[in-house]
């Protein structure tokens, strides 16, 4: 279920060496350029195919190859996902004897990064659609294809994993033709794993994906499809030049960002490094470095032009990146606050989509309210903070951004339940909705419909696909999707269903703020905004989890779930029964001292809510919500 993508350059920013331009000194000729991406459902073999292509074109020698060359973050390899966009230039001598310049733009597959995917697609003329010969079309296959079609890309299907005993290439071809309406006649049959059919893919790209037809003489228009930070070059833009050209020394202007910089370096990407060039011209893909200190000055989707000869219009489709999912991230030990801030700062250097601002919580102390593109994005940031910066974190329940229309007519967006205006000032509230599509074996249709019903979904459409599978479309509230939808879907379909979604705007909804009270004191870190129908079961479930997670203390602790002062669920942590050392033997008080120290440490790690000590695990237990 979890997938994403990311950019060779990103990794490069951290560890890339300066590589010479060996073998890449092609003469500029647009008709020999092919800009393409690879789209696929997770596990259909996108990264492996990319590896084989790099190998085949000779830019990577076999000895340099590790699996998933383009996925250079530890996390990407481990999870088999791509988190950022990557671009690599490869020279390829085709069967027609001509040498071509292939630019592979790798894209993340996950919905969290939909906008970034769309910008990467906009940088291409074609897309190689990888479909697993035994799995067939999945939800993300469709989502990606529709997006590619939106960008008028030439889609070239490739059937992968034909080496598997369960491969049914003909059935899958039929599925693609029926569901997507793409002719699969003569499409390459490939085993990326075994290196079979790779040359056919390359030939197919050269012969069928159109060359760019950009105007070299027009004012510069370069589309930014990714950004990252390089310690030596500053913030770098990955671009597709759509018109004109740019060279070192040019003064460039970010058309949406409205700031200007002097170009210090332009070039193309090699798998393991930079290949600086004199200029980047219309139709080409590469990077622009301009001593930009803050990555926030580079917006994915923005258009770069020249200050002294600006384009009349930016390229279409620019949207500022808006976080969709928020949560609070706190250091488990308050002393780590500074380290956490430094770590977030470092991560944001390479990830303009991550936002954070300081936040204080009675229960958790000092921390940050962080915004993410989606759940996967959130999970990845959390894991990177923990692994790469060795931080112990407490994370609050993820929440979406609600729209509150106040009685005085004002509209406010709420990303933190604590900031919700008082009930009497709220006229109505709206929540973000998604268009969801699920592809599942027929047997699980009932289970999925039940799940979507449970999750307050509205049925939109159902369609039978070849191979006994069904495509279901639902409108779902985003806050239900971020809650435990993935886990539920997985367990109810034994992992056979695939799921994808796209945001579709706000809808009015009967939402309430659910508060948790410990010994009568409200604990803001545990407050959530929920649909009224959900409030009772959620309140009861949180109360039960807290009861198990909060250790017994000197006095009984009532735990209450309440809506606007009305208690809807209650649990009790019984008082501590016994906590005493029988003996201090022979004047040796060290054991007692050690025990006390240990308990003091333990208490320090807990957060005080009124007179109640709440361990981080209690917050975690509530957050996990399984």
């Amino acid at each position: 279920m979890l997938m994403a993508r990311h950019c060779a350059a990103r990794l490069c920013g951290i560890s890339m060496k300066y590589h010479a331009t060996e073998g890449c000194a092609l003469k500029y000729d647009q008709s020999r350029i092919r800009n393409f991406c690879i789209i696929a459902h997770i596990d259909h073999g996108k990264s492996t195919l990319a590896d084989r292509i790099l190998e085949k074109t000779g830019v990577m020698q076999l000895r340099d190859m590790t699996d998933q060359v383009l996925d250079s973050m530890e996390l990407e390899r481990e999870r088999g996902i791509t988190i950022k966009s990557k671009a690599v230039r490869m020279p390829y001598t085709a069967r027609d004897g001509q040498e071509y310049e292939l630019n592979l733009i790798d894209t993340p597959g996950h919905v969290d990064f939909t906008y970034e995917v769309s910008r990467a697609l906009a940088a291409c003329e074609g897309a190689v659609l990888v479909v697993d010969a035994s799995q067939g079309i999945e939800a993300q296959t469709l989502a990606n294809v529709y997006m590619a079609l939106d960008h008028d890309l030439e889609i070239r299907p490739v059937i992968n994993k034909i080496d598997l005993p369960s491969a049914q290439p003909e059935v899958v071809k039929g599925e693609i033709e029926d569901e997507i309406g793409i002719d699969c006649d003569g499409c390459p049959l490939v085993s990326a794993k075994q290196g079979v059919g790779i040359e056919e893919v390359l030939e197919d790209i050269v012969n069928n994906i159109p060359a760019p037809q950009d105007d070299l003489d027009a004012p510069l228009q370069a589309l930014i499809f990714d950004s990252y930070y390089d310690n030596y070059r500053g913030a770098i833009s990955s671009v597709r030049v759509k018109a004109g050209s740019v060279k070192v020394g040019d003064r460039i202007r970010m058309m949406a960002g409205k700031c200007e910089f002097d170009v210090t370096e332009v070039g193309a990407y090699l798998p393991l490094g930079y290949s600086p060039r004199e200029s980047l011209n219309a139709g080409e893909v590469g990077y622009i470095a301009a001593s930009i200190k803050d990555i926030a000055d580079i917006h994915v989707g923005d258009t770069i032009t020249l200050a002294n000869n600006p384009a009349a219009e930016p390229l279409p489709g620019y949207k500022p990146v808006l976080p969709m999912v928020y949560c609070g991230i706190y250091p488990a030990d308050g002393a780590d606050y500074e380290s956490l801030r430094d770590a977030l700062e470092k991560l944001r250097l390479n990830d303009a989509a991550l936002s954070y601002e300081p936040e204080t919580s009675v229960a958790l102390g000092y921390g940050f309210r962080c915004g993410f593109l989606g759940l996967l994005h959130m999970e990845i940031i959390q894991q990177r903070l923990e692994r790469e910066f060795d931080l112990d974190l407490v994370t609050t329940a993820p929440s979406v951004v609600y729209k509150v229309i106040k009685t005085d007519g004002e509209t406010v967006f709420i990303d933190n339940p604590t900031n919700l205006p008082p009930v009497q000032e709220i006229d109505w509230m709206e929540e973000p909705m998604v268009d969801a599509q699920v592809i599942t074996p027929q047997d699980y249709v009932g289970a999925i419909m039940e799940l979507c019903q449970d999750k307050r979904g509205t049925f939109r459409d159902m369609k039978y696909i070849e191979g006994g599978r069904v495509l279901l479309k639902y409108d779902l509230p985003l806050n239900e999707v971020i809650y435990d939808f993935f886990d539920q879907l997985k367990s109810r379909t034994r992992g056979y269903a695939s799921f994808d979604y796209e945001l579709k705007g706000y809808e009015r909804s009967d939402l309430v703020k659910l508060d948790m009270l410990l010994n009568g004191e409200q604990c803001d870190a545990l407050s959530i905004i929920v649909h009224r129908d959900r409030a009772y079961p959620r309140g009861r479930s949180i109360a039960e989890k807290l009861k198990d997670a909060i250790p017994r203390q000197l006095f009984e602790i009532p735990i209450q779930a309440a809506i606007g002062g009305k208690v809807i669920a209650r649990e009790t942590v019984k008082a501590l029964r016994k906590d005493v050392l029988a003996k201090c033997y022979g004047g040796d008080i060290s054991r007692k001292k050690k025990l006390l120290e240990k308990q003091k440490e333990g208490k320090k790690r807990m957060r005080q809510v009124g007179s109640v000590s709440v361990p981080s695990e209690a917050f975690m237990a509530v957050l996990k919500m399984d």
Partner: protein
């Protein structure tokens, strides 16, 4: 002259008990001679000029405790030599309390006579239980019958101050067995009874049994019930509880024991012995071999004001007399209540402490959760 107490550790026993993780070594008879030589050397050291001055010039000994291990296992003449040597450290007070700890199975009239001649006036017997089955499962070397015999023998030798150690919360121990043990101890008409709840220490055979499920421990409520039964039964027989685990007839509270809780000064001699002297804590090595190789005075720690406050709080609240708020104010130059108002109020309202007449003391219920109460009162000391 300041009061000083002496603790002497005898790290030898006939067999290791199942719950024991103290410094105590069975089958080391061949080292007894070397050990007592080393011990006497250490006593001679403390009898001369030390980093704390010459102790005899500023201290007098008010209590001495010879513990173990099983001090009654070794030749009584060795114990006699140790006590005699200790008189060189500082003069003994006229009313000095000298306790020897022993196993009921290791006593004899001759042995007891030697102790008496040397000035030993208190005998502390590790009875632990009166149930043969429980004694066996604990790995004790004595029988229930030997406890009564030992008390009778001690009386005959002239001991007028006898303690029995009892243990509860043992695996498999029923409330009835515990009541029977209390009855049996009361019937022996001793002056002092200690009732310790079993602590399962890591690395002991008992811990392994508990981990494997072979030994089942009572739950917290069960343990509390046993402690309450002890308080009630012993009070009925004229034993006042004066500390979490200690009960005595009027006038027989163990002076040595109280020194620990009141942070009086004490010097520990021998393997694994701990000291609080001249504002610092230190101890000898746990290991017999390390002690024999000459290692002494480890982890010398000068106590800060905050250490002293924490210790005072954690130790004095174990006693029924409680924390002396006037003494606190004098020692630390700030009222005990300062910064603790809310916690004290909450604890008092919850029936865990009593405040008044210059003392803050834990109620019987408060003592069941003493660690947590102390933690509540230390919190603001940071």
């Amino acid at each position: 002259m300041k009061p000083l107490s002496l603790y002497v550790h005898i790290p030898f026993c006939a067999a290791k008990c199942a719950y024991c993780d103290f410094a105590s070594y069975p089958r080391r008879e061949t080292d007894w001679g070397r050990y007592f030589d080393a011990l006497l050397d250490e006593i001679r050291f403390w009898s001369g000029p030390t980093g704390f001055g010459r102790l005899s010039e500023s201290y007098r000994v008010i209590s001495m405790f010879i513990g173990g291990g099983t001090p009654t296992l070794v030749d009584p003449e060795r114990i006699q030599a140790v006590i005699e040597a200790c008189r060189g450290i500082a003069p003994f007070d006229g009313a000095v309390e000298i306790t020897v700890e022993g196993n009921p199975g290791t006593l004899s009239p001759d042995r007891l006579a030697v102790y008496r001649r040397t000035g030993v006036n208190r005998l502390s017997l590790g009875a632990q239980s009166f149930d043969e089955g429980l004694l066996k499962s604990l790995g004790r070397i004595h029988t229930a019958g030997q406890i009564g015999e030992a008390v009778a023998m001690a009386r005959a030798a002239g001991f007028g101050n006898i303690n029995l150690d009892l243990m509860y919360a043992l695996p498999g121990q029923t409330m009835d067995q515990w009541r029977a043990a209390l009855d049996a101890a009361v019937a022996l008409d001793v002056e002092h009874i200690s009732a310790y709840s079993l602590i399962v220490e890591d690395g002991t055979p008992m811990a392994a049994r508990v981990a494997s499920g072979a030994a089942l421990l009572p739950d917290d409520d069960g343990v509390n019930a046993m402690q309450r039964a002890a308080i009630a039964r012993l009070a009925g027989a004229g034993y006042d509880r004066y500390e979490i685990s200690n009960y005595a007839r009027p006038g027989y509270a163990c002076r040595h024991n109280l020194v620990y809780w009141n942070r009086g000064e004490y010097l520990g001699l021998g393997c694994a012995a701990h000291s609080l002297l001249g504002g610092c804590r230190f101890h000898n090595p746990e290991s017999l071999d390390a002690y024999l190789s000459g290692k002494r005075m480890l982890e010398v720690t000068w106590l800060t004001r905050r250490d002293a406050m924490e210790e005072t709080l954690m130790l004095s609240t174990r006693t029924v007399r409680g924390l002396d708020t006037a003494a606190w104010a004098e020692a630390f130059e700030e009222p005990f209540q300062m910064g603790r108002e809310a916690a004290l109020e909450r604890l008092q309202r919850g029936g865990l402490i009593e405040i008044g007449d210059g003392f803050v003391r834990l109620t019987p219920r408060g003592m069941e959760v003493q660690n947590a109460v102390v933690l509540e009162l230390t919190g603001d000391m940071e």
